[in-house]
Symmetry: C2
Subunit: 250 residues, 2 copies
Amino acid sequence: SPIEKLPTNELSSIKTVIAVMSGKGGVGKSTVTSLLAISSARKGDKVGVLDADITGPSIPKMFGIKDKPDNSEFGIYPVKTSNLGIEIMSLNLLLAKEDDPVIWRGPLIAGAVRQFWTDVIWGDLDYLFIDLPPGTGDAPLTVLQQIPLDGLIIVSSPQDLALMVVKKAVKMAEKLNVAILGLIENMSYVQCPECGKKIQLFGKGKSQEAAQKMDIPFLGSLPIDPVIARLCDEGRIEEYENENIEKITS
Amino acid sequence: SPIEKLPTNELSSIKTVIAVMSGKGGVGKSTVTSLLAISSARKGDKVGVLDADITGPSIPKMFGIKDKPDNSEFGIYPVKTSNLGIEIMSLNLLLAKEDDPVIWRGPLIAGAVRQFWTDVIWGDLDYLFIDLPPGTGDAPLTVLQQIPLDGLIIVSSPQDLALMVVKKAVKMAEKLNVAILGLIENMSYVQCPECGKKIQLFGKGKSQEAAQKMDIPFLGSLPIDPVIARLCDEGRIEEYENENIEKITS
Ligand SMILES: Nc1ncnc2c1ncn2[C@@H]1O[C@H](COP(=O)(O)OP(=O)(O)O)[C@@H](O)[C@H]1O
Ligand SMILES: Nc1ncnc2c1ncn2[C@@H]1O[C@H](COP(=O)(O)OP(=O)(O)O)[C@@H](O)[C@H]1O
Ligand SMILES: [Zn+2]
């Protein structure tokens, strides 16, 4: 029997909800989620990001958020990013220090994810992007079962190893009847700053072929760009401009 | 009050248990765990690897394991790798297909981790390496609380973002009184195959400085080597030779 979807906060009105998933850690889910949100916001959309990686949240650091969330009797307000006004909610915003651990078992993790949907006052949004943690455990399961998603974007690196774990995520989404919008390959190659050679660190991209076999659209690929890693560390991901991401989002 | 440590299977006799952790996904925990196990096995040690990443297991693929585990009334037997005879146990060995998802919540995940310790017949081992999943949730918590560890090795990439999440893992280990053997920085740079330039994809390594601030030993660093990624995909990680890992393990 289908599980009841959770209602949003009465002061939230969200047009489209897209979750970003991979199953495998470190392939760039948070980075791709951030770049998709930035691209939408630049087009004038009202955008939010829900960081569902409860024990390993990295979204607030990428955007350089220092403020703590406000709250009222109606719920918790997300924090706006400085440049584009993207609304962000993450467990890291609720901790005293960003490197404090959240040592929680499944029920608490699932509870936090639910509250980010029901108790956060997202306001009027055109898009809410949900960044999922690695694996197919409590947080991904709660999001895919209990939040009314319009679709799922899958992120992989070019490696067979990553694609094997990514297939688990795709099978999970299919089992839970969540529509898959497509697959983005990240970290396809890096260009040598000295001689311009394209170095395929993780082998020749097999994601396009894998997407076809899994019968999901291939949305495009992103190279490794050291500027991304630097801007993430400096909390300035909103300053990243690149035609690759625009190609994917159009 | 300290939680009771679980007993091993009566047919297991393990001298040293080391867990490999990072908090952040994709920094190379599984790769470093595999390389440490290979280095020990080459020296003549009897070695095992327990893959505690229940929903995103990648160890069996790295070693190219095709066999399924045997079992008897005394427990489950791990599967030996073809070259060095390293004993491996992973949830992926118990699935019909390696890309089938394990859609479990916390209690089942914790239960599987416990069984890999109490029900697997590891036999006589000099070292058992435990590969932890990302985050500080059920699997890491069960391992750090209930398995008698001799120490923990922390893996990070050079980025601030990764180090922020790694600090969460270090604080978790300290809170649970687990000894930290040291920090390994992975993916420090990649060397251009064309012109030899060292490209620091994730910025200048800050792990050594971070290790000093966290008062844990810095064990060394590993560059990104496309050969590693290829051997992982081909299930031939046991063939990797590199003096960097020998320097770290001595
Ligand atoms: N295309 C890219 N170019 C350069 N660095 C990247 C790219 N994608 C991700 N990264 C970096 O790699 C690390 C892992 O990415 P992240 O988005 O945190 O992965 P995940 O969310 O899948 O764990 C981050 O620190 C990020 O800065
Ligand atoms: N030093 C390295 N050089 C090249 N590839 C690496 C290196 N370390 C890890 N990798 C690759 O990066 C991917 C992520 O590594 P993995 O060990 O699975 O990370 P984690 O266990 O932290 O998620 C793997 O597919 C692996 O092949
Ligand atoms: Zn070059």
